[in-house]
Amino acid sequence: MRRDFLRLCGLAGLSFACPGGLASFARAAVKEEPPYAGPFYMVFNASGGWDTTYLMDPKGINEMNRLYKEGDILTKGAHKFAPTDKHKTGGMSNEEFYAEFGSELLTFNGLDYSVNNHSPGARYMATGKLDSLAYPTFAALVAAAKGPTCPLSFLTFGNYSATGNVVAMSRVPYLPSLQKIANADHIEGNVKSPYHEDFALARIEKALAEQREMRAATPLLPRQERAESMLYAAQVNSKAMARVTPHIPTNVPKERLAQQAEIALASFKAGVCVSANLSIGQFDSHQNNDVDQMKLIPEFLAGIAYVIRRAEALKIRDKLVIVIQSEMGRTPTYNKGNGKDHWSIGSIMFLGPGIKGNRVIGATDEKQFGVALNPQSLALDKDKGIKIRPEHIHEALREYAGVADHAHAKKFPLGLTEKEKLRGLWG
């Protein structure tokens, strides 16, 4: 009930147009919510711009790749990928990744990022909107729509993370941090040592609720309304943090993505989190492209694999949706420093329940330009097709997640006509 109510409240930015105003919000928000049960969304970002020709869009022609030729390109089902097993210095090769996950993986090639710079590219890929700073990322949007009362509804570990004021962003830098805050009403988190006896704490909560109710009857500026709503929700919902404790692993992994993943997975498992942005950087290989990409792509894939395997162990894999992206691609040619510069064409990959794997949609041509696509049939159509840009992907993602018609999504429209929307992307 309360979640529905809060969803209603969130229709226009958490507190706008709440039926009954903030007073009813305050009354409704006293009870603790049951754990959020999924689906869980994880967006992996290769920050800096990945070289797609060394992963899911291999070329090997026109001197685009020095580590392999066209004839070396490998396949797994519908997927074509670059061979990296001999070149990786750690992590997971493409061969291993596709062997394990290719059947579940959906790849989109030929995505037109439209810009060549990190900052706007990251914003565009994260939100689906290039020319606005106000839009929430997909991860934030889905968190606000599906789990507005979760204490860590939207976790981020980097990358563009704007929320559009629809949900609070959570940053949890270290696993032990979760332990520190799990039992806020107990001295040093020790459940045997409460600060206040139960009857006193109950009266504190009652007084706070009454005070909120009175504030709700006062005409407030929109910023004040939002602040009151978010503060109250944060404190009430924080009690659910206690659920995280049993899921915090005793061993902290060393790998960058795995560390982030453990925090997110523990939060998913505890039902206190809907979505997470995971990110590793240094993909911006203007110099020595092949060395950098061969270090980072395997690290990136290993991180994704780690998440999927851990999700399996935690029994939440069937609820885990994974988006794998970067803010730009890299040029078809090498520069004088053996690097590759920014390129506005790239790829994105997906994996999760309801996403039919073993598929590749879209394409780039022999010069690594995007090939136009018929959004209705998903067939390549150089003459009558359209360029597929982040807003197309985001619209499809919103539909896939079931939030396209949510008020939050409508508040941040992507401006596509029905004819422009991708049909059947998820299979």
Binding site: D112, V115, N116, S119, P120, L130, D131, S132, L133, C150, P151, G158, N165, A168, M169, S170, R171, V172, P173, S177, L178, I181, A182, A184, D185, I187, S193, Y195, H196, F199, A200, R203, I204, K206, Q211, M214, R215, P219, L221, P222, R223, R226, A227, E228, M230, L231, A234, Q235, V236, N237, S238, A240, M241, H286, G339, D341, W343, S344, K367, G370
Partner: protein
């Protein structure tokens, strides 16, 4: 309840500008003056056509679409339409520029070609236009231009005048119905925010007797306190992030090439013996050595923000931010630069690691002659922050980046322009990249930005050292020839100025009107924790007009303050004082709920309503309770990062809203601070108490006298913790009373409760505080309740 809010129909003590439409042809405006006569850079139109041009054509189309190319130095500078950017002009020149632009547009609007006009055909790319299709037919922008064409060709000035008068009459004042902070709460906000303390009794009395007229003198004194400078440095680091230099600062900042012999002085026993030799215990000496190194590094990192403090503290022109021909150095830092012997006599206390003085560094001398720094004066060409080692290291270059990141942050930090913020979509970016050998100089889509950015990047050319290699050094083979040459907004840098290129840049920056505006925007960020509004872009948005108005009103205020800032010698304190007195700072509620979506959109960003950052929470706890909490301090492995803090490196933006994790920290804070402070306060003599000076734990609810005493105690707590000025019979006090009395009553019903506070909450007491009636714990619950409230956690 007395929340001290007044409703303002006409903004109080503010700097509002009310534009008068006139048909006289001059861009006239009047200023409704409260505290000061301030004139903005901008001016409104002179007729409906001109109003329309300024607010619609210029704001929505020309500034966004045309100006990028149609300006001196732009890609279309050779076309017949060359516009002047009003943002770079002031006063009459600005008005003239708008007037000239309007005339140029009007001329094109009057040239008929077929069924349309030249203006519309150009904009839609139907006739030869370098920018091709700048506007889609029937788009909102196109409709704006079409209406302009209609108005320009309309025959009757009378119709225009009538429409103008109607439009003016229908617009209610922007702050109409907005409730303002009263003077006492304004005072508390200011003292806590800027000096980390509560108002003094004298200040309260002054405000009580003189009202807001007392504020200027109070502010003048406040802005001399050390607490203010702590906040100033912290706030500006949020913007410049110079504390975020990677690695050990002594090695990141001071290159082996130029500071080989001095940068590691703390490891040289001869140079540290004055500090360490007196310490006989080996372990203590080792610890002192570590502390020495830490203080040295901390002092090195602190230099840029100390420069800001020095400028503001001494009320020097804030333009020194980019023109100061000195830098700030500490005794430890001076040793690192190898200049301690020269400057030690200038320090008041050469042993103080954090005393900073202004010093001019000599031109750098390298281990090899080729690394010697060019200098016509023999001095390092200091240019404020621009040439600071910390700034250059925090924003490094790479072989392929070519100082463009530095150019980007330069524009952002000193001119308030984010060149990447709303980057224009390129029709086919990949095709452009492939088509041109050098797109940044050849493709119009790229030239638009690069013609502005690359000349600035070139000015940093002699600071060409990568990570951990210091900052100064020339690029082998000379500067890039496939970039636009070094210069500033169309002005080429003379070759003779190269050795002092950053000074050359700083001089021009200081004269650019955008500098003053950017600094005023920084001040807004310091005070509110958020950036000023950007102009709305989506012309199709049904709330566009409302959002545009909100932006325009705030912009007028920014520019009015910027004008005074420039006119009064760039005294940054004046900017803060001006902001504090505006309705933007004082807005605190509504007289009645705003249901109209357009009005809500206008008010959407109004009000400070800022969740306190971890450091601010710590300071507020210290101000109220006499001692900080400690667990939100930065860098101690505490909870500050989880509470939305920044590390100035990876995490550079503070959280604006509380997550559930932060809600948990708020609970911990409230529980823990109340635990540590309640019994402790009772254990002091009443005259020394901060929280309970007029009540004892043996006062229990029940009698009229006791209840009155309890209510007075609550009034005191509300004022001290929340900044509320409630009356004893108010509903707020009643609620708190019920909390207190209810807990005491609940406890009384329990037979065997402990007769003293719990163990953790009775530590470090001045004297034992028994709790036979459970009142101490009930008061602790009250303090917990107050600390969890918005009035405490926000400002």
């Amino acid at each position: 309840m007395d929340m001290g809010r007044g409703t303002s129909k006409i903004p109080l003590m503010t700097l509002p500008i009310r534009f008068f439409a006139t048909l006289l042809g001059a861009f006239a405006f009047s200023v409704a003056v409260g505290a000061a006569e301030l004139r903005p850079y901008s001016a409104s139109g002179c007729s409906v056509v001109d109003d329309y041009f300024v607010n619609e054509v210029w704001a929505k189309v020309a500034a966004e679409s045309c100006l990028k190319c149609h300006k001196a130095g732009g890609d279309a500078e050779d076309s017949k339409l060359v516009l002047l950017d009003p943002a770079r002009l002031t006063g009459a020149k600005r008005a003239e520029a708008l007037h000239a632009s309007r005339a140029a547009f009007a001329a094109m609007a009057q040239v008929k070609e077929g069924n349309s006009t030249r203006l519309l055909l150009k904009a839609t790319g139907k006739v030869k236009h370098g920018g091709k299709e700048a506007l889609k037919p029937n788009s909102a922008g196109h409709k704006v231009l079409a209406e302009f064409v209609r108005l320009v060709n309309a025959p009757s000035p009378a119709v225009v005048a009538k429409a103008s008068a109607a439009a003016e009459k229908n617009a209610p004042p922007f702050f109409s119905g907005v409730a303002m902070l009263d003077d006492r709460r304004l005072l508390r906000r200011v003292t806590l925010q800027l000096a980390a303390r509560l108002p003094t009794d004298a200040e309260m009395s002054a405000v009580a007797s003189q009202g807001v007229k007392a504020m200027p003198a109070i502010l003048d004194a406040l802005l001399k306190e050390d607490g203010f400078y702590d906040r100033l440095r912290e706030g500006f680091n949020d913007i410049f992030l110079t504390l975020g230099v990677d690695g050990n600062p002594d090695q990141s900042l001071l290159s082996y090439e130029h500071f080989e012999k001095s940068r590691g002085w703390y490891q040289n026993t001869n140079l540290t013996k004055e500090f360490l030799e007196p310490i006989t215990d080996a372990k203590e000496r080792q610890q002192a050595g570590y502390q020495l190194a830490n203080d040295y590094r901390k002092a090195l990192l602190a230099e840029p923000m100390r420069l800001i403090e020095h400028i503001v503290r001494n009320e020097r022109p804030f333009t020194e931010l980019v023109t100061a021909d000195y830098f700030m150095v500490s005794p430890y830092g001076a040793r690192g630069y190898g200049i301690f012997g020269e400057v030690k006599d200038k320090f008041k206390n050469p042993a103080d690691p954090f005393e900073f003085i202004p010093v001019k560094l000599k031109a750098l001398t390298g281990r090899s002659k080729s690394e010697n720094q060019d200098s016509a004066t023999g001095l390092y060409p200091h240019a404020g922050l621009l040439s600071a080692f910390q700034y250059l290291t925090r924003y490094p270059t790479t072989e392929t980046n070519r100082n463009r990141q530095r150019a980007r942050v330069y524009f952002l930090h000193f001119l308030g322009v984010d060149v990447l913020e709303l980057a224009a979509r390129v029709g086919d970016a990949a095709a452009v990249s492939a088509k041109f050998e050098n797109p940044t100089m050849q493709a119009s889509e790229c030239v638009v930005c690069h013609k502005t950015i690359d000349p600035i990047a070139g000015l940093f050319q002699d600071y060409w050292r990568f990570a951990d290699a210091g900052v100064y050094g020339k690029r082998k083979g000379g500067w890039f020839t496939d970039m636009f040459a070094p210069g500033y907004e169309g002005e080429a840098m003379p070759g003779a100025e190269r050795w002092r290129a950053l000074q050359w840049l700083g001089e021009r920056t200081a004269k650019d009107p955008r500098f003053a505006v950017a600094m005023v925007e920084h001040a807004y960020y310091l005070l509110t924790g958020r950036k000023v509004l950007l102009p709305p872009k989506d012309l199709e948005d049904p709330l566009f007009a409302a959002k545009r108005r909100a932006y325009a009103e705030q912009r007028k205020q920014v520019e009015a303050i910027a004008t005074r800032f420039a006119a009064t010698g760039f005294n940054f304190k004046q900017v803060l004082k001006d902001w504090v007195m505006t309705d933007f700072y004082r807005a605190d509620g509504l007289a009645m709920a705003a249901a109209n979506p357009a009005r809500r959109a206008e008010l959407d960003d109004l009000g400070v309503v800022r969740m306190l950052a971890p450091e601010q929470v710590e300071r507020k706890v210290a101000a109220i309770f006499g001692k900080g909490w400690g667990r939100l301090k930065h860098g101690d492995g505490g909870l500050d990062m989880l509470y939305g803090g920044i590390d100035s490196k990876e995490v550079t933006e503070r959280a604006a809203d509380p997550s559930g994790a932060m809600g948990a920290i708020q609970r911990i804070l409230a529980n823990d601070v109340a635990c540590k402070q309640t019994a402790l306060d009772f254990s002091r003599a009443p005259s020394d108490r901060l929280l309970f000076p007029h009540i004892e734990p043996d006062v229990v609810p029940g009698s009229a006298e006791a209840d009155a005493q309890i209510r007075r105690a609550i009034v005191h707590l509300h004022q001290r913790v929340l900044g509320r000025f409630d009356k004893p019979e108010s509903p707020e006090v009643e609620r708190t009373y019920q909390l207190f009395a209810g807990i005491v009553s609940d406890a009384a019903e329990k037979k065997n409760f402990d007769k003293q506070e719990n163990y953790s909450c009775r530590q470090s007491l001045v004297a034992p505080v028994p709790d036979p009636n459970y009142t101490v714990r009930a008061w602790r619950a009250v303090v917990t309740y107050l600390l969890r409230r918005q009035e405490f956690l926000y400002e």
